[in-house]
Amino acid sequence: MIATAYAIPDVLVFLTSALLILVGAVGVLAMRNPVHSALSLIMALFGVAVAFVAQSADFLAAVQIIVYAGAIVVLFLFVIMFLGVDRTETVRVEPLVGQRVFAGAGVLVTVAGLITLFARSHWVTGAIAVSSSGQPLSTGSANVTQLGTAVFTTYLFAFEATAALLIVAVVGAVLLARRERAVDAEGSQS
């Protein structure tokens, strides 16, 4: 049934993006070097962008790359470089004894929960096939118009709340991280 519903190019694109995402995601965990992990993360984000393009959500793909790959992972790398990277960082030492068991249990519960949700609830995955049921995204530049209208009318409150949250987070981070130079000078005097 599935084979008849999808064209071969679509399947190929989907497989490519899925492979990019999965290899990238596993790489984030498996790489020894934090910088290599960050690189794998970029690969996974690119895979997501490809998936967006395949669903004709071009604008989301662009934003995905500009915001996540272009800004957030750069900040990760910035921090990794500033703190200095221990190339042979060992993960054999457990700072929290017995955390691995709990982590494993947590992963199991999450994955099981997700699978159950995917299987049972329609609202998680959306329509099974966009072409058969549900409204397809409009293509071309109408796509951006559609998204913009949705964000600034239907979801305006959520949008503004997110903006406020981000501003608060930034100001809070600056407040916590900032050191007063004048007081430093005094501290060294006394």
Binding site: I65, V74, L176, S190
Partner: protein, 411 residues
Amino acid sequence: MTSWLASVDPLFAHGVTWAVVIIVIAKVFVGFAALMVSVMLMIWFERKAISDMQSRIGPQRWGPFGILQTLADGVKLFFKEDLLPAEADRFTFKLAPYLVLIPALITFSIVPIGGTVVIAGHPVLLQVANPPIGILLMLAMSGISVYGVILAGWSSGSKYPLMSAVRASAQMISYEAALGMTIVTVVLATGSLSTHDIVMAQSHGIWHWNLIRLGIVPFVVFLIAITAELNRPPFDVVEAESELVGGFHTEYASLRFALFFLAEFMNTITMSAIIVTLFLGGPAGWVPNIPHVRWVFPILWFLIKTVGFAFGYIWFRAALPRLRYDQLMNLGWKRLIPLSLGWMLIVAGFLIRPSWGFLMAALVILAWTVLTRAYTLGQGREESIDSILPTVGERPLPGRVLRAWTDREKD
């Protein structure tokens, strides 16, 4: 499927046939070749112009006026030994040049070089691609090219390249904000993201160019921000020779160094072209009514404008001293970002209704006054100890605050 493609490019209006495929491949090849040749000429032009400004002769041995110097340098670099530092992270070290080069190539594909021509019955846009996300592609690609610089610096396993990489990441991210804001202004006025539409909206004469229509401010901000994004002088703290040896590509040799060099000049050309596209109407200009060669004139106009900006970059390099790192950050965060944000709000207001525009202008002026007051207060707090404001972040002990006050009395 076909209708979607037609909305992207009129070339696909009658479906994808063999002729269309050949035209698309030809466009890609011509675009690539044109970019490569222009990079060759740009490097020669920069060296020659700088030499003239510094009363030197410059390249003169290869070809007339030394025009083949770049080719000779390319051949030399090609045959040099490919060094890999012992401390280098091998994979990342090899990957980094391509992360700079490929975005530089992709960005050029969205630049409209001319109008529309008809080849074999198909209307063809004279640009390699016209994606619906248009100018956002440029932002995305400049986001990716940051990685090339950062990873090149880090993977060299050497101190100065690493410092350069840290500077580069901070600088490029900071200026991307101002860059994005000015692009939003242009996009608001046009009502479309596509570069073709942006150019078409400016094609009705010089008063419709975004340079004038949006006021000069977005253009100036964009020019400064893009120069910083390119790491070109006066914003070249990334490869400041007097401080960092050679910047992030100190450890690179041979062909990999050539790739960095290529990408840098390619970006200079592409960004000149992007400025022309966004603010100077791209290929817009006076077209004389001569049959059969009408399509040549838009290309000529585009070339003249782009070369003008390329020369501007060379002139910057010869005339302006390098900014210090903190000056660079102050300019980016405290001047350009508020300025571009405020101007964007004013333009958005005027686009709805003039009264809204004036209201926005009043609000922006109010915000500007508050911000200036905050800066002066903050400046005083950084420089002297007599601050009325309590300390932020450190939470000093009560005794220490008291001591600070009494010490001040003694002075």
